[in-house]
């Protein structure tokens, strides 16, 4: 019986990847909507996040900003289903108002891979998309699929490298390919540019923009990088336990709420 996840790769490969490594697909239809209603997360008696309401459409990049401790990572974990939350997250096809199951691609802040860990990029990738034990076999077909997926982010040459030896930018490209296999409806990126140089950041943002244009997915990104927020975000959400301001980048960055949250304004962070 073919593995569900493997079938996912086949879909992906058909839909989006050419051997040139460019992302190419049909683009966002703009008709899928992720509605978060009244999301509240508690840790014992402490309220971490409360009454968060957000509407996210495919083809849009929504950037969540906020001070440390504002609940950004908690919200991401709640969306991932990793921690229990109140409220609902619905994924609807607006054409027929039918609820569908949401497939999330997640790019974590960092990996728990110490120096000297014998995990290659192939092992890491195959571990998530296949059930064939990577400690025993390396089927040619699976390797080819992984190379094709890595090509989307110019990471195909990294396949035999050890994950612990990758640079920040290289690791991020690998993680993005994993998050996009199988193609998700929602891509969640939790501060993905920490520890990456200026050039790497530029490449990363361009890739996100390309993904947005060619894939049928919505992107939520937690970021501290204001330059990016202004240039690439479609929507910005300012979080401080709850949504205190949401809208177009300029609207939020020039708002009173923003100035209040970050003290003297932009320069404070």
């Amino acid at each position: 019986m073919p593995d569900i996840k493997e079938r996912g790769i086949q879909e992906d490969t058909r839909q989006n990847v050419r051997s040139t490594g460019k992302i190419s697909g049909h683009g966002a239809c703009g008709l899928h909507c992720i509605k978060m209603k009244d999301i509240t997360v508690r840790d014992g008696d402490t309220v971490m996040v409360e009454h968060v309401n957000m509407h996210i459409h495919c083809g849009k990049v929504t950037v969540i900003i906020g001070r440390n401790g504002a609940g950004k990572s908690t919200l991401i974990k709640a969306i991932l289903g990793e921690i229990p939350h109140e409220g609902t997250i619905e994924f609807t096809d607006l054409r027929n108002q039918k609820a569908e199951s949401l497939r999330i691609g997640y790019v974590p802040q960092h990996l728990n891979v110490e120096k000297n860990t014998p995990v290659s990029v192939y092992d890491l990738f195959a571990g998530y998309i296949s059930n064939i034990p990577v400690c025993l076999f390396r089927p040619k077909k699976l390797k080819e699929k992984i190379i094709r997926q890595l090509e989307m982010f110019q990471a195909q040459d990294l396949i035999d490298r050890q994950v612990c030896d990758l640079s920040g930018g290289e690791l991020q490209r690998v993680l993005l390919s994993i998050a996009c296999t199988p193609a998700p409806n929602l891509l969640l990126l939790d501060e993905p540019v920490s520890g990456i140089d200026k050039n790497g950041m530029e490449l990363f943002y361009k890739k996100i923009d390309e993904l947005k244009k060619h894939y049928d997915l919505a992107i939520i990104l937690v970021s501290h990088d204001l330059e990016f927020v202004e240039r690439y975000a479609d929507e910005v959400v300012l979080l401080d336990k709850t949504v205190i301001k949401a809208g177009k980048p300029r609207e939020v960055l020039e708002s009173e709420e923003f100035a209040k949250a970050f003290g003297s304004g932009r320069h404070a962070w």
């Binding site: 991932l80 289903g81 891979v113 290659s120 998530y128």
Partner: protein, 272 residues
């Protein structure tokens, strides 16, 4: 080749060799993920809890304390896992508390009336006293481990790298953690009488730790770990026979030596 026939002249040596040929690959395989998932301290605590498992067997009058050790080991692993998942204390603190308390309870019960020397064999183990029926139970657990690896290895790996990412890919992290720690508990408890509380963790960790020095992917990691475990196990048993030393510690010294050799040569091996 005369030494081989001399070595295998006795049935207990044949049994011990058979047991070593099962235990060492088992430990070689299991060790890889114990090290990757940072469970070395956990398996160590499990080993120490064998005292209490044995003591409970003595109190309850169980004829084979092996059974009470396995049952207690599983309960210990489940309870420890539950408390760790509550996240109220740091991991090493919780494990340390469990380890010391279970050691103390076991020692108190076993030493009642000055009888501890009767049980002290469990400290270093005695592979030469293993019986064929016990070898069969080790073989069964080796097969179970290989099956578990075939089904769940990739998920264990994914879990060790990043729990949130694993969960986002639909991997049942909690359930898998529980099954894995129960498996470790069963294996540790079934083999501890032959290997000994004091050194069982060394045998679990050293082959994998050595393999990490020279492997650059998961297949090499497993291959080297199993080869190092079997090599030091068999050679250690033979040496212990001729030097008349305890088998377990002799094997550990060999594995330790291999660890340092791989540590020193890793730059050369990996470059090539």
């Amino acid at each position: 080749m005369q030494w081989i026939s001399e070595f295998l002249k006795y049935d207990f040596m044949k049994n011990a060799l058979a047991a070593i040929l099962i235990i060492t690959p088992l430990f070689g395989i299991l060790g890889t993920m114990i090290v990757n998932n940072k469970l070395a301290f956990f398996s160590d605590a499990l080993g120490h809890s064998a005292f209490t498992g044995m003591a409970l067997g003595v109190i309850l009058g169980v004829s084979d304390t092996g059974i009470s050790m396995v049952v207690f080991g599983i309960l210990f692993a489940l309870l420890l896992n539950y408390i760790r998942s509550r996240n109220t204390l740091s991991n090493d603190t919780v494990i340390s508390v469990f380890s010391s308390v279970s050691t103390a309870i076991g020692l108190v019960i076993l030493s009642r009336g000055g009888n501890f020397s009767k049980y002290s064999q469990i400290l270093v183990g005695d592979i030469l006293s293993i019986r064929p029926s016990e070898i069969v139970s080790l073989l069964v657990i080796l097969i179970i481990t290989i099956l578990f690896w075939a089904v769940a290895f990739n998920k264990l790996l994914a879990m060790s790298v990043n729990v949130s990412l694993a969960k986002s890919k639909g991997i049942p992290v909690r359930r898998l953690e529980t099954v894995f720690s129960v498996l470790i508990a069963i294996i540790v408890m079934l083999s501890i009488r032959w290997i000994g509380i004091l050194i069982i963790n060394a045998l679990l960790i050293l082959p994998a730790a050595s393999a990490r020095n020279i492997a650059s992917n998961m297949r090499e990691y497993h291959l080297f770990s199993v080869l190092i475990a079997v090599f030091s196990g068999v050679l250690g048993l033979v040496i212990s026979y001729f030097l008349n030393t305890a088998a377990g510690p002799t094997i550990v010294i060999l594995s330790g030596t291999i660890f340092f050799i791989t540590l020193l040569t890793r730059g050369i091996v990996k470059q090539s």
